[in-house]
Symmetry: C2
Amino acid sequence: MRYQLFLIVLLLAGCNKNSPTTDVSTNIQPKKKIVFEGLNCPWSIAFLNENEALVTEKNGALVKVNLQTKTKITIKGFPKDLTDSIGAIHIGDNSGIFEILLHPSFEKNKKLFFSYAAKKKGVGKTTKFVQAQLQNDSLTNQKTILVAEPYTYVNYHYGGGMTIGPDNKLYLTVGERLFWEHDEPVLPIAQDVTDPRGKIHRFNLDGTIPNDNPNLGKEAIPSIYAMGIRNTQGIAVQPETGTIWFTEHGTIQGDEINILKKGGNYGWPNVTSGKLRSDDYSPPKLEHVSFTVPAWFWQHTVAPTGLCFYTGKDFPHWKNNLLVPGLSRGSLWRFHIVGDTLKSAEELFLDDRVRSRKVAQSPEGKLYLLTDEENGKIIQILPK
Amino acid sequence: MRYQLFLIVLLLAGCNKNSPTTDVSTNIQPKKKIVFEGLNCPWSIAFLNENEALVTEKNGALVKVNLQTKTKITIKGFPKDLTDSIGAIHIGDNSGIFEILLHPSFEKNKKLFFSYAAKKKGVGKTTKFVQAQLQNDSLTNQKTILVAEPYTYVNYHYGGGMTIGPDNKLYLTVGERLFWEHDEPVLPIAQDVTDPRGKIHRFNLDGTIPNDNPNLGKEAIPSIYAMGIRNTQGIAVQPETGTIWFTEHGTIQGDEINILKKGGNYGWPNVTSGKLRSDDYSPPKLEHVSFTVPAWFWQHTVAPTGLCFYTGKDFPHWKNNLLVPGLSRGSLWRFHIVGDTLKSAEELFLDDRVRSRKVAQSPEGKLYLLTDEENGKIIQILPK
């Protein structure tokens, strides 16, 4: 009787019960399944096939994992100038190994790209990007693509993100490498075209400079493609359009998602969607400079990292959606995007947060999340 | 050639293209369709059938609309002590007509409930809840359920939300009716069980007091079911569980979604997930009081209003999701909830915001949005 009343009530209250129970409604909620553990803060993953992948451990090594046999081997020959944050006295030290990315012709030439924090005696550390070949689980024929000099003793904001565009060029992100804005030189680092930091760079796959990079002046570093960026770790290509999107870490709020534009200036530290950390700092007036506005910014701190556009089969209604994990709140965000327009933003796993560094897909489109933990995990996200 | 390269790149970059184009992925994105215009800040809607509905205009009248013929008539006999915010000198004056709700046995007894801002000469205005019968498009046999005295000259936070629970009881929301916390009496209004404001009340459908209301002491107003609430306009029943959920307006941030609990104290103004508006106000220490934590709070201002649990057919993957519109940012939020646990939160229509007062369903489950505009609209939300 109560239940009958309840039905009537719902009907008249404009919230009725006559809805179908379909596969869609019951099956498409995502759930997590841990498929690999014991990685020391995994940062990036590059799939060799459906079960095997190269994984960078921020505080470990470049390893090869098998998601079926649960085995892990260390890739030999990683550069000796690596510096990580093991035993770091600074909380949140960003030093370590960052991106791992396969060459588009990896099957033939076994080439890959990786980035890491390199140290140099007496001068400090900075972000380094290297191309190498993978032979018998060793890195050979190593060739430096970029060393983001100067070396400094700052432990933060290396950037380190990489992707390959639809133009078959290599795009690299280098963070500004500061923590406090009051440490900025007169011309802020990210606004200085003679400084590689706080920029996104563009290279040919052989490490040479493309002849169609933006002209930012005689003094400019020729690999600079975009500037005014505080710290970007995530950069990915939108399948439908070929547009490149990247995340940016703000200070106090100001985490952003941006669309990469040739010669674009994203404003840091002169404009930000958040607040500057140094109350006593005010950026200089810059003449004849226009800034690119973000496609999205959060009003709270998320620390967005390795993003990915979803093209898998498990969640058809997520097709071509942008997925963005976050470090600070351990959230996973899904954006439905049409062209350059964000239509909706969903925060997933509200009741199951985990500090997340990267979301990526296998060649067949299985979706995986890397967790930034000492016992770091590879978590598959699949339908209930 | 570029495109082939692009495919290879995406495949190796872990974002492949081999995803199916299914009805799901292409059809379930929501779009808006205006089905009715010319309503003066519509606040609430109660469907008489699939095409006809009663609609309250905050700054107008109780009207009957036909969504097919696009006609609108005014229901006669609305109480003369109505006060609205037409010509109000206070921006954001909340006075006017609020909820319209049909009796569970409306088909037989033609009874309904409505709420509005009532004025009384020389003393001010307050929230009033009335039961009446609808006969020949006139309100007859009017009977007052609650007058939330005292009358004051404050223009804000009337509450006015209503729903009928699975227990076949009438639940009413009354706001605290203050704007500044420094206007609070020694015992804050929402914490005072002898004051009907800042509360949710529970009545039998005939206006009498249920014998199983919480015992809040001899002095307590017997209709009080929950307290410590700043301002609630939206209250709805969760289909699967019968649990009642309600929105709460915070001050500076602090907008919340709460689960209604018998005798629950939601903390205002002693605890809030936002900030108090009066810097100079500090609430009194309350002994032996425990507060109920919100199910959700936003870190930015949304001004959530008339919520609804979705049970329609158009979006099967939204089944039993909670939909919450917002006034301040004009957003529509969708929460996937299992039991009392929020699993995900999606903000919809990022590129098409409209100040929204209420989301509701027709008897057959069509989804509609009421916009808070002088030319207020009824917008159907349907799949692309």
